[in-house]
Structures are given as C-alpha cells and as structure tokens.
Amino acid sequence: MAERMDLEARLSGLSAELAWPPQPDLRARVRTAVLVRRRPWFESRWALAAVAVVAIIALLVAYTPTRTAIADFINLHTRITHTTVLPTPSPLPPGPIGTRLGFGNATTLEDARTHVKWTILLPSSLGRPDEVYLQTNDVPSGGEVTLIYGPGTGLPIAGQTGASVLITEAQGRVDEEFFGKIIANGTTVNPVTVAGHQGWWISGEPHEFYLVDSNGEVRVETLRLATNTMVLDVGGTIVRIEGNLTEQQAEQIGSSLS
C-alpha cells in the first residue's frame, strides 16, 4: 500500500514538470466556426462572385464593340457573328425569383398559412405578394416564408434579384449583441420602433446579420439584396424587409404589416 502511495505521489509530482506542447489559443477559430454556419451554395460569396464575373463577361461579349475589342486583344482568329445588342441584357439566371434565390418551394399564401404556426403578416401598403415561398429545410424551426414583390409596387427594382421588395418571416429573436461585432465597415445599424415593434435599420455595405431561431440556435443570414434592410420583431416573428428602400419606405411597409 505504501509502495502504491509512493508511486502515486511520484506520478502526481510529474504533472507540474511536464513539457506539454505549446498551448494554442482556440478562441478566435472557435468563434468563427460557431458563427459561420455552412450556407447553401447560392449564398456563398464565391458563388456570388462567380455569378458576377460570368455576368460581366456576358455583358462584355454581348456588346459588339467590346466583343470585337476582346477578340482583337487576344488575337482570336475566329469569326464572331455580330448580333443586335440587347438594350438591357439580364445577368440573372432564368426562373422565378424565389427559386433562383433558394427561398424554398413556391406556394400560395393560403397553403403557406397551413404549414406555419404563426400568422403570416402582410403589408397592406403593398397588397398581396407576386410570389410566395415556403422554406422548411435548414431554416429556423417552424419554417421561413418569403413574400416577393415585383415591379407593381412602384418601388425600384433591385438589380441583384429583380424584385422590388422581399419580406422574409420566421419565428425567433434577433440577437442585438452580434450587430456591433459582425457588421462591416460602412454599414450602420440603427434601432427603430415601428408601430410599437422593436427593430433595426441596417444600411450601407452588404452585410450579414444573426438571429437566434426558436430552437435557440444562432443563424447567419445574408442580406440577399445587399441593400438596405429593416428587421422587425413583431411579437416573436422576425420580419425582414429588404430592397432598394429608404428608411421611410421600409418603415411605411413595416407599419402596414398585419
């Protein structure tokens, strides 16, 4: 017994003398990893950059003088057929807006209402949406509903999507704590109150924001229009109003939600 105790004492004494490998500081990497959830390919910056490059090339090639200049520059000894230049060539892939942007399945308001637990809010100032999408995969518990408004609103169309206003609704809460840390330079976040509901007006550079879904999980959300956005917490339903909007226009839409 005494021998065992002696051995144990000697072993315990070793712990203070060990040359452990240098201790890495894991904080920053863990923070990044927990904040950045794997996003669908269409939300990836690389994918967006690739789409932008393809769009630019398509524009350049579509424009006859540029195409000829490119052919001359790279000494392309191939005959290029001249075609009529489209006045507004579209860089966007074909298909409905919601499908392109991965909002889920196209549906109707009536059908979406039967699939979600909260009351879907509609802005009376815009009327019924042109498209409705329901996303149930990889979204806050309870699903996510996106209302898309086309040119009929009279508001400017955002070039990135072809929509004038996107309204996304999901159950959860916005974690204001993250705002100050992840918003890039050139982006401002101002708290607002719209029709008695707490909210934030995020304007300026493209940015991400975080919300905590009803399961308590932190989600990273990219603002798809890369434009100004109003986020409202309407009694536990997080409503995002995105578009080429002024704060006043977004407020008007937000205050007409019912």
Binding site: A16, W20, L26, R27, V30, E177
Partner: protein, 187 residues
C-alpha cells in the same frame, strides 16, 4: 457585476441563450484542459489542436444538452475525448505518447546538490518513460488521473467508461507500472 469574473453557471446560461461572447470565455477557461486531454489521447499536438477546436464547436451546438448548474468539466471532457478518439480511430494508427519533462525544472524548495538533483531528474524521466511505454488503456488512465490531474468522474468522462471501472483499471495500471519501474531499477 463589474470586476467579478462570471461563474460557470452564468457563463453557460448566457452561452445557452446564444451568446458567443460567453462561449468564447468558456473556451478561454477550458482550452488548456481540452488540448492536453486530446494530446494524451492522440499523442499528436496537431491532432489535439484540431480535436479540441472541433470539440468546442460541437459543444456550442450541444449546449442545450448541458444541464444548468452541472459541473462543466466532465461534460466538456466527454466531448473532447470523443472527438480525439474518433480522430485516432479514423487515422487507424496506434497512438504513441511521448511526454517529456520540462528542461531545468526543479521540484520543491529544497536545494539538493547538483548530483542529487541529477539523480532525481533521471528517476523522474525513467518514471515518465515507463508511463509512455504502458499499453494504451493503462497509459490513458494514469495520464488522466495523475498527469492531467482529473478527478475520478472526469477521468471516467475522458475515457468514456463508468466511474467504477476507473478505479479497477487504475489499480491494475498502477500495478503494471510498478512492475515496469522495479524491473528497470533491477535491470
């Protein structure tokens, strides 16, 4: 609140509500324990670093499973050691731990003669080599209990075995270590 470090209960409660700041502080507090435990299991600093990092990310995602007020060390150790063991398993290799003594370390306040100090250091080095040479189960239980200074409950969590098994496994491991040390001294 100011000036007083948050206790674990407060930190975990905030982290469970989604506070990444709180979780970062948890990482700060427990990263040494996580890294060293993973190192003892994998025998590789690089693997241990990745295992500890991935374990913290998984812990963040599993915060809901942490019972408020519970002791966080066993909970974290279970996640870290699972991650480390999975890495060893997927690498399909036997781990080889090569713990060394820090150079120039002098134990206690006594100032022995240089000769006595050298003898002591040599004995400690031999003991450590004997630990390194034990088979994996024996080495892990001894390293967890004495080198990482884990409690029985924590050792059980780190090894993924019941607490009762820790005692019996430790007893057998110590017996085999003693045999090894005596054989060395005799040889």
């Amino acid at each position: 609140m100011e000036g007083r470090p948050e206790d674990d209960v407060e930190l975990f409660t905030r982290a469970q509500r989604g506070s990444v700041d709180a979780f970062e502080e948890i990482v700060h507090r427990y990263q040494q324990l996580a890294f060293r435990t993973a190192y003892v299991i994998t025998g590789s600093a690089a693997e241990a670093e990745e295992a500890a990092q991935d374990a913290f990310v998984k812990a963040f995602r599993a915060l809901d499973s942490f019972r408020t007020g519970a002791e966080p060390r066993p909970w974290l150790l279970r996640i870290v050691s699972n991650e480390a063991r999975n890495r060893v398993r997927s690498a399909g290799r036997r781990t080889r731990l090569e713990l060394r003594l820090a150079e120039g370390f002098r134990q206690g306040d006594a100032a022995p003669s240089p000769e006595a100090a050298a003898v002591e250091a040599e004995e400690r080095q031999r003991l450590l080599e004997s630990v390194n040479a034990l088979d994996e189960n024996d080495r892990l239980v001894i390293a967890s209990r004495y080198l990482l200074e884990l409690s029985s409950e924590e050792t059980a969590a780190a090894l993924g075995i019941p607490e009762g098994t820790v005692k019996s496994r430790l007893s057998r491991a110590l017996a085999r270590l003693r045999e090894r040390v005596e054989a060395q001294a005799g040889g």
